[in-house]
């Protein structure tokens, strides 16, 4: 009899699923990412070229260059790390290539480029990719053994160490790096580059103040608002989400619950401060929430492995995102929330495994659930009180 479960590194697959190997899953992930990549190229390269607002062709195709250089850097770095760490096992160059291929080396670089500003300085980007790839991934043992999402490690490193450089365009020190050169001409009168940065500086919150400078909510849905390279379009993320869910690469429940919790939390807070339905819709459509929910929170290596665990993870992600975004000092909270929940991934997995041993909740497991729900409700209520 063939064994039902295989003993390998994460992502853990049933042997029934193993005909679709990790390679198939990663190919599907790349296909699922393609709407986001294509939209970001359309918005930041093609639209700029059509409108002719660029100073040099290099500036116009700069996002495209980062999209190529980023993955390439992380690929080469992984090759170097594997060469240093497994020198004795690798005899030929082709062995090295197979090792790197099994590590899916270009994904951290690609993700970091997609969640970074459009005109971010190249060395800032490459340093962050190096930190994400080497410290976030390879030092933990490579693909399948990292605790933290390597892309978010790199992005968090960028946010915390280059707080001065990250907002300044590489081409013009007076421009904000989140704006491409087309947006810089049309939205230059607005204080604060992205909707969330603007939101975090506002004292009075009204629809005219928050949404109107960037168009209307349809612009947010289509993604023609300023923001990081790949995160602006809700539509592209939804297309990717549907494809990946059909191919069963990601669990559709995670993005659904994540976004739903953020929606409910901001809806209640919005109703109390006298805002309409636009307020929660604005919150779930702006920033990296959709991108993070679809592509980052569902990452097979670092997120919990079972249904209950994923639901718990997604619920906590929702309230933590609202906490970091609207209560904390930073304009965006998705990356911080995901990296925080990565820490608790092991605890959630352990707890859920205990529940699953006999298939149902018994007396011993109830305290864990009660603790989880009370922490969840605590943050949920705290968010509302703080926003109001």
């Amino acid at each position: 009899m063939a064994t039902k479960y295989l003993v390998t590194n994460a992502p853990y697959l049933r042997s029934a699923d193993h005909s679709r190997s990790t390679h198939t899953i990663m190919r599907d992930l790349l296909i699922g990412l393609s709407p986001v990549i294509l939209f970001s190229i359309f918005k930041n390269v093609i639209l700029v070229l059509i409108n002719g607002t660029y100073n040099s062709v290099f500036q116009a195709i700069y996002p495209l260059i980062t999209l190529i250089v980023g993955p390439l850097t992380s690929y080469l770095l992984e090759m170097l790390c594997i060469f240093i760490m497994k020198r004795k096992e690798i005899a030929k160059f082709s062995d090295l290539l197979i090792e790197v291929k099994n590590g899916f080396a270009f994904f951290p670089g690609l993700f970091i480029v997609l969640i970074s500003p459009v005109y971010v300085n190249m060395w800032v980007l490459l340093t962050s990719i190096a930190v994400g790839e080497v410290i976030g991934k390879m030092l933990f043992g490579g693909f399948g053994q990292n605790i933290f999402n390597p892309a978010i490690v790199g992005r968090a490193f960028m946010a915390f160490s280059f707080s001065n450089e990250i907002g300044v365009s590489v081409f013009d020190a007076s421009l904000n790096s989140y704006l491409n050169s087309f947006e810089a001409t049309t939205i230059d009168s607005i204080a604060g580059a992205t909707p969330l940065i603007r939101y975090s500086t506002l004292t009075e919150i009204t629809y005219d103040n928050v949404v109107t400078p960037f168009g209307n909510l349809l612009n947010f849905f289509l993604g023609t608002t300023p923001g990081a390279l790949g995160e602006t379009s809700v539509l592209a993320c939804l297309i990717g989400c549907i494809y990946l869910s059909i191919r069963k690469v990601i669990d559709y429940k995670v993005p659904l619950i994540y976004v739903f919790v953020v929606f409910i939390n901001t809806l209640i807070a919005g109703l109390i401060i006298g805002q309409g339905i636009w307020y929660p819709v604005f919150q779930i459509m702006s920033g990296g929430l959709m991108f993070g929910a679809v592509y980052m929170a569902t990452e097979p290596v670092t997120s919990p492995k079972t249904n209950l665990g994923r639901i718990m993870n997604a619920m906590m992600l929702g309230v933590l995102t609202v906490l970091f975004r609207l209560v904390g000092n930073n304009p965006e909270g998705v990356a911080t929330a995901i990296i925080t929940m990565n820490i608790f991934g092991l605890i959630i997995n352990r707890y859920v495994v205990r529940v699953r041993v006999d298939g149902k909740l018994d007396k011993n497991e109830i305290p864990g659930l009660v603790i989880f729900l009370s922490i969840f409700m605590l943050i949920f209520v705290y968010n509302i009180i703080k926003i109001v």
């Binding site: 060395w123 410290i135 490193f157 915390f160 160490s161 280059f162 707080s163 001065n164 450089e165």
Partner: protein, 225 residues
């Protein structure tokens, strides 16, 4: 163990920070500049050598040793705390700037596990002369470790190397020449953790490769026999 081995052990083989992993708290907190690391190192060497001497002296009298045996930790702490107070007052009087930048971490030498650890593990059961050498060795090893961490952190995080007071090597020009800026992450405590972790990893990797070579040699010897 000869006196020379006793002196050299603190630098690499039994380095208090990199191998024994003691005293990491001040090592992560104060290593933002080389000056801080040097100041901390000097204060630390003084306290460690003096406490080793006094504790070894106390333990060399048999009756006194038996007398303090039940309360020896408290006695050691009292000795160390008085020494630290001396250092703190001297530093406040003669090096006020260093005193301000090291802050609470001078008084925290009292509870630094290296000092108490050497008192309990070495000085209480060895001769006075050996204990003094042990104190100097461990103190220099700790200072050496602090200097390495602070060099990496200050250079990467600030672009300068502050040796003492106004004696500053400014390398910001190199950063400007390369069109990059110092990475402020390394001046934060998270950066200190990262630097310490990477140094520990490198030390462990060197150790492992040395042991692997030793084993291969032994294998080869057995085969020859």
């Amino acid at each position: 163990m000869t006196k020379k081995e006793n002196f050299l052990k603190g630098f690499i083989n039994e380095n208090p920070l990199f191998v024994l992993l003691l005293g990491t708290c001040p090592a992560l907190a104060i290593t933002t500049t080389l000056e801080n690391a040097l100041g901390m190192g000097i204060a630390f060497i003084f306290v460690l050598v003096m406490s080793n001497t006094i504790i070894s002296l106390i333990n060399s009298f048999k009756k006194l040793k038996e007398l303090i045996q039940p309360v020896r930790i408290a006695v050691y702490i009292v000795i160390i705390a008085s020494l630290v107070t001396i250092v703190e007052m001297l530093m406040q009087a003669y090096l006020p700037e260093l005193y301000n930048s090291l802050g609470v971490f001078i008084s925290l030498i009292t509870v630094n596990c290296i000092v108490l650890g050497r008192a309990e593990a070495y000085a209480s059961s060895n001769k006075v002369s050996d204990s003094v050498i042990d104190g100097i060795s461990m103190g220099l090893g700790y200072t050496f470790a602090l200097i390495i961490i602070s060099l990496a952190r200050e250079l990467l995080g600030n672009g300068t190397i502050t040796i003492w007071g106004n004696l500053v090597i400014n390398l910001k020009g190199v950063f400007e020449f390369l069109h990059i800026t110092p990475i402020s992450f390394f001046t934060s405590s998270a950066g200190a953790f990262m630097v310490l972790g990477i140094i520990l990893g490198i030390m462990q990797a060197i150790k492992n490769s040395k042991e692997a070579k030793k084993q291969e040699l032994e294998k080869a010897k057995k085969e020859v026999k």
